[in-house]
Symmetry: C4
């Protein structure tokens, strides 16, 4: 048997003992890869022996499969007649109710000038995103309380606005890890962006370039990092976010490639060492099924599929060998230091104790975050509260680290300013950028930055602050009462 | 007159002066027993002179009546022709709207793999349980505020998650009173389970056996304790929960039988010495009546029937001589010690003072609980708050007692971990197991344990804890603000 | 001109210069009385020259008009033919939609045994009361926040329940100002009861007699005090509530009559010196108009009728000369002491400072109350919070006064117990008794007392308290978090 | 080319290079004025070459255009025939759905005597105001949380009401900056009133005159200040509110004109130095469009029109040269002092530090305000909380300044009293007066004052206070719990 392959031949390799896939008219043998797939084997097995292109494309860079498979596992092309068969099938496929809904919603988007704030942007994105993509972007872990608490934390802080200070000239620019930024804001944690727009993370790269905003690019970006780096302006700064794999060679290659591509810092994620049950996401296909009237309820054995198309739960022994759950201060940081000259920032610090430890272990910075409530469990303290605790208990941390950004729950320019007043160098936003590019592509990203700039500058003026260094702890207090909630639609 | 009896003859014994019942085609004289019935006399009198099988079966072990009555009170069998009459009546009985609803709901249960958390399980149970059984399982006392406060208490505690600690191997197993348990969780207070499933508490026994989870079996279990003990695996641990009766011989026999059957500890309930008005439960038949369009309102004298089919209210002098309302530290504990070698745990401690007293009186453990808000009045402090108070005021208590489990309001793996962090050895769950077995029987129980295991292990990893002893008070704080509520459907 | 009078003749006296009324077929000249009417002149002027019986009867004792008018102002009887005319008119009068609604609602009341708690009783009362009577009974001042806060205060206090204490015998009886009471509860502030039931306050007197509960009878009771006193059992205790008029002779007569009728204490109201705008009550006729489709909106001059049929607002100078707004510690208490030997209790103390002052001025007791939010403005501290402040700041007050009852917001037996734990001798209830008698008359009152007794005794047992003196401050704490609300329907 | 002008000729000047307008049949060249328009150029450009009368009239004094333009920019009259054309067009114009709605609502207003409180007044105003006017009056910045928090702050303060104090005579009059006022209340910040009523701010002047209440007149009043001054009674006090322009000559003329017209104090606004995005207001035309079924959604370039008809956002450099964003303590106050002898009050102080600074800089008073949440960003502390902080931290401020009024969120007489108890000399109300005049004109304003007077006097009496100086800090406390909200409809 040799290429080109027929669909019939491929279909004979339909289980874990021999698992072939068709992706963009090429045939691959993924049998050995099954156990190494970051998203777990079960999602691949759903397509065993079949064409997996529609599931593969929106969430992977085009070159992902080549990177992970050896050349011998790339079996060759599909037969031309069978390619035409697949195309005909695709043409004749009846569009789902969800696809029809999305197409309508895209036509009815309001003009950009009616997007006044980040909530407006999210509202549009929620209408135009496919159901599954929305579930993936918006879901938080379990009851999604952390998601809400992250945002509510900002509402407890009020300003002591100062008057009679000259502010007609007002400069919100700053430096993040020594790199210029036009605002104390950067893009963090926005990956898998092709789910929302065909150009994926490139929309962010382009929107940020002209606005001089730094983008942190994720290990699991759906656009190849090389393509993103090539799309960046010469002056544009990119950071690299690392999910450390257990396979040291994989991790090393990722870091060294990033350094070579010109990324300027490594953000090592330390808070997402296991995959949690993002219930909204897991339920997503079932909800859709119910909408489309296809639900057939019956009781069978407990097959325990608490998986979405990206993850799988693991128990006592971490079966998912992609994420390294055994990182440690003593081993992981020296290793990372040994393979790169880039500054190292720990992404996902959640308490004062670990912030202090980080200063002692000599990293260049920490990012206070609970993964946007995306990965960590409920009841993790909101990052703003952790920041406040550091301010109260260990303000020396602010002097010892170059970067102490914060992430999670930021939705207004005043939110950004509150974090800066308490000592953060900058503020990362993730979901808002995914919503912006899903709703309007690159101009959506630009618009988002415009809104943040307008809100930040206006608020700085009203606080009597003409530059970032005027934003000091004296301008802010945490009140004793429970403020009303913005009732942000989550 | 002699057996076999006719229905006509039985019907002549229809009041408190002479009260006969037919149960499973046998005739009993319960005249003397009326005042000793744990559920009070009025519910029996409703069936005086009649067939009481349908009311008796779901809430009693089959052998209950033999245990409580003397042989002479068992009058003998019903006539064969009359047995057939009763069977014909039963066959011709029109099913109630509620029975039809339940049957439909059973068919529409989602498959088990769609049950992601304990709330999902409860949602199914609420749909498939008969109206009265649901009211009985779910009701809390009076306004049910304690029920809600028990659960809300967990939401006030947030974690200080630690990172960079090796957790790929994570072991949630522990010992409870010296007995192995695969999780810091046990089954507590789930009785009368036949209301929800014909196999009753046996579903729990079987589901727990393979998972190595300890079951506490209630005095009022609806399956005979001997049957439960026989169904347990050789390695399986069972505890016995004791409602102490005023009749010392009854209480002594219960304890000694339990010891002989291999139960490993006695949990003496101290917080349920009188029966309170669980209003939702009391109203249950009236609500059903209204649903079925049978309500006839009229004003009559005040007959004060604040009773459900299990209880009756009692006033200045405790007329209900089943529950001993005169237990005391000085008398009750030495008595119990004198009749058994099993460890003694006081179930229902609700304040620091009594926790300290318990250490001084030499019991082996205490169970912090307000009876799941099932029996005690509103405004009893949530058990988690009592635990927190002990941690703050008298941490020495934790060293002096073997077991300090807690019960009430636990619905997530993080809830379990919070209690363990604050010092509890283990956590008891009651209602969730009743919901699980009502919804899916034994596999529902197994599923529930699987969910708890997944949630506990995932959260331990994210907290940087690889074993139970890593869960320390430093990992947790009670926040000063009011967190959002899970809005658990109660 | 001489009696008997014709309707036509009466109708000529239709304004403030000469104002006659027909009441129960007798004719009165109330011209001079207009300015002395406790409810203000405007309500009388609405009936000037007309038959006012239907407005007069539900809210006055039958003898009220004789007491206030001189014999010469009683002009004599109406002509027989005109009496018959009035009766014919009444017979032919079309019943209003509200009267029809009430009659239906009375027929559909649930049987008394379905009334499980005070909320159930209120629910029935809200259905069977005429619209205006309900507005009058239920309204609080302005936004009714005080009404709600009074009740919510109880929810902030939680118990430290004690176990292993003998409580099978449990005695909730106590003494109030030295008089026996079967419960630490008395009837306070329930007047104008004829609006809800033709026998008015007599329902309370009779219901309390057999239950040995003390009734405080209001200055404005709608049943003559002599009739109430006559209906009381020989052993029954009655207290007298005094609204002090500016006319000393009126006030003196009221007190001395009460003493002679056998009342045992004088509760001098000090918190209702002006009439506030109970907006729900003022709006009541307009709301009814709208329901009946009679609303005709038009803009006219501002006639400022913020009056209901009982009150009128007064501004800079208190035009309402019935309530004495110039009482003082130095003058009023010695005066009252000089005219009666009965113990004096100040009803309406709202802060610690005045509680302390009261001990210094030598009264026998104080009643912590903000008039059930009925009369005083919003933002008066809830009585339970005042009690708690006294307990914290000046516990000596509890030793210096015979009676320190509390009133306002009590709806559960646990509420009563919380007040007792904090130091109150007893607890007064007002609205709940009005609702009970409106719903079911005397048996409603008895039922209410039964419910309170059951709830109090049950809760005492569960707290480990066998008698009232066991209810100590150690059993209670005010928690730091915001408990859930009972969502009592207000 | 010379006047009179034809519509056709005017229409040739339709952009920023040459921009003519027709206003009340006169033609103006506003090309040079575009950049000086307080509301920004874009709103003018919408009417370039057209008749702008309908947009101009409701929000400008009739003489505004003459004041801002040089005589040569007033080009002369429109041709008579074209005037008639415009009139015919106006007559034939189809009324909008909103105009029809407003006309109906005006007919259905309730009579004034049914307006019991400020909420009632607002309810009527919300019904009778045109959509855009309501959005302008009611909008707060961004999420409008500050608007709500301003009001909620009052709910946290409770009274310690005192009893047994003579209050039948009760005098609520006071002095504000040395001027008599019948209540501790003045009118603040109510401008652009012609949007709600053709007589605009004159309604306030007339309503306040007879009631002896002081009116602060805004720089942007829609009625000429001279007309307002002429309408005032001889004894009536007026204050002048100053928005300082960057053009010193404009600012100086405004202040000196005001002094000459008899205004008695200058309130220099210091908290509105940039225009924020009042989102409800910006959205208002779009919402109306949607109501009228005219919305056409399409995506175009981002033209960023976050402007309403009064404002425009500005970024890094303040393009809006009307508001001076460079005021300072050292320069601005000496300048103002040099051009006027009137007392100077800083309007918009938002923290203790600036209140203290104000005492040191020698101004006569401060007005604690966050611009009614109208202009400043969210998360500015509620003025009542700032007042409370001054009371706690720096009570000396109260002795050093003549006037320390407060503004924002006041809706009840008790709110006024709370601010006075904490140390404010008086309380300013803005929106409530706009609502009153929009709903009922001058009698609405009188009614509003009557309501406040009734509520203030009643509450003073119930607190035991016979005059303003009896309102001391001892009468008030901030409670520790979260009170219920009035749920004022915002």
């Amino acid at each position: 048997m040799a290429p080109p392959w027929s669909i019939e031949e491929v279909s004979k390799h339909g289980d874990a003992t021999s698992c072939w896939l068709i992706i963009k008219n090429e045939v691959y043998d993924v049998t050995e890869f099954l156990s190494k797939h970051p998203g777990g084997p079960s999602i691949i097995l759903k397509y065993a022996g079949c064409d997996a292109t529609s599931a593969y494309e929106p969430i992977h860079p085009p070159d992902a499969i080549q990177q992970y498979l050896s050349p011998s596992q790339h079996l060759g092309a599909l037969k031309g007649a069978d390619v035409r068969d697949l195309q005909a099938q695709e043409r004749q496929r009846k569009r789902t109710q969800d696809e029809i809904r999305v197409e309508q919603a895209m036509k009815q988007r309001p003009p950009l000038n009616r997007i006044l704030n980040l909530a407006d942007m999210e509202t549009v994105a929620r209408k135009v995103l496919p159901h599954g993509a929305l579930a993936f972007f918006s879901a938080g872990t379990e009851d999604e309380l952390t998601l809400r608490e992250n945002a509510r934390a900002f509402e407890r802080f009020f300003f002591h606005a100062r008057v009679m200070r000259p502010v007609s000239k007002c400069d919100p620019s700053t430096k993040i890890l020594g790199f210029n930024s036009s605002l104390p804001v950067f893009v963090s944690g926005a990956s898998t962006a092709k789910l929302g727009h065909p150009l994926g993370e490139l929309n962010i790269t382009r929107g940020c370039g002209s606005a001089n905003i730094i983008q942190m690019v994720c290990t699991y970006a759906s656009i190849p990092r090389a393509v993103i780096a090539a799309a960046a302006l010469p002056s544009q700064t990119l950071f690299f976010q690392l999910y450390k794999s257990t396979d040291l060679s994989v991790a090393t290659k990722l870091v060294q490639d990033a350094e070579q591509l010109g990324f300027k810092a490594i953000f090592l994620t330390v808070d997402a060492i296991v995959i949690t049950t993002r219930e909204r996401d897991v339920r997503s296909p079932w909800v859709l099924e119910a909408h489309e009237g296809k639900t057939q309820y019956y009781v069978e054995g407990d097959t325990d599929e608490t998986t979405n198309f990206l993850g799988t739960s693991s128990l006592h022994v971490n079966r998912n060998n992609i994420l390294d759950a055994d990182m440690s201060w003593k081993v992981t940081i020296p290793w990372l230091r040994s393979i790169t000259k880039l500054p190292i920032i720990l992404k996902g610090i959640q308490c004062v104790e670990d912030a202090v430890l980080a200063t002692e272990m000599g990293v260049e910075g920490i990012l206070l975050s609970n993964h946007g409530a995306f990965q960590t469990e409920i009841s993790s303290l909101p990052p703003l509260e952790v920041l406040y605790k550091i301010r109260q208990q260990r303000p020396d941390v602010f002097n010892k680290l170059e970067g102490q950004p914060i992430k999670g729950g930021i939705r207004r320019g005043t939110d950004v300013i509150k974090a800066i007043c308490l000592g953060a160098k900058a503020v990362g936003l993730g979901r808002p950028f995914l919503y912006a590019l899903s709703a309007y592509g690159e101009v959506g990203v630009s618009k988002l930055i415009n809104i943040l700039e307008r809100e930040i500058v206006t608020s700085m003026r009203l606080l009597g602050a003409a530059k970032i260094s005027d934003l000091t702890p004296e301008l802010i207090e945490r009140v004793e009462w429970e403020p009303m909630s913005r009732q942000w639609k989550l």
